[in-house]
Amino acid sequence: MVDNFLVAIVSVARTSVGLIMRPYETYRRLTQKANLWEALSIWVILAIYFAAVSLVKTAAFLPFYLSRQFIVIFSASVGGYLLATVLLWVSARILGGKGSLRQVAVAWAYTLIPTLLWFWFAMLLWLILPPPRTTSVLGIGFSIVFIAISTAILFWKILLSYLVLRFGMRLDLLRISIAFAIVIPILTFYSVVMFRMGIFKVPFI
């Protein structure tokens, strides 16, 4: 079990480099393998972020509050992931997709890497340069760079999400668009609920 996990961690690292350099080819390969250990490894990496963010948000070393904060955000993220995976798979199947739930689950887990990257980026910048931003030249310059980096990560996320259904379910662009048109409103509703509950301001999806 430990061996499988360690191999999966190395594989996730190599695949992540592939997602940066050659996303299409990498997604084609990872949906063929669909190794659930890799999805599990990604969640362990995510757990490290959730532990860090719990520390930052709680701002005190109080084990009870830290654990509660960690469990709440981790559960909400797992809920969002499972919801997205099942909805994508069901809608893609309805539209004639041929892949398995396992393939979509692993492929969707890899789309959480851009999400994780943005959340680390936002958290570290919050620590180094806490908001609010001023309307000075430096403040506006920082804001433009922040928006540009966030948008680039968002475009990467959109590209990977497209590849989930392209290679995971073998759908064409039209059907992928329809599948996302079904899934996005439901995920938006889930995100609004998370926002109202004070768990996520920006959805971790």
Binding site: I20, M21, R22, P23, Y24, E25, R28, Q32, V53, F119, A122, M123, L125, W126, P130, P131, P132, R133, T134, T135, G139, I140, F142, S143, I144, V145, F146, I147, A148, I149, S150, T151, A152, F155, W156, L159, R166, F167, R170, D172, L173, F200, K201, V202
Partner: protein
């Protein structure tokens, strides 16, 4: 056939099967444009992604002016 040729051939067949597994995407008259965009996204898409993001960020600044700092202040608290 030598062993090496056999290996090359089986690699080729495997790669061929991978490629033809999914039918190529067509978009009617827009197909050449789609292919042109996708070709740029297949290998190292970052120059294109960063360029589009910069254009969008500068466009947003030109549109809403210094309110962009308010938006970023909100986003920075969003983690």
């Amino acid at each position: 056939m030598t062993h090496e040729t056999n290996m090359t051939y089986s690699k080729f067949v495997k790669r061929w099967e991978e490629v033809v597994d999914i039918p190529p995407q067509t978009l009617g008259p827009l197909t050449p444009y789609y292919k042109k965009i996708v070709r740029r996204l297949k290998v190292m898409p970052w120059p294109e992604l960063v360029f589009c993001s910069l254009v969008l960020a500068i466009g947003l600044y030109l549109l809403i002016g210094s309110a962009i700092t308010f938006l970023v202040s909100l986003l920075q608290k969003g983690f």
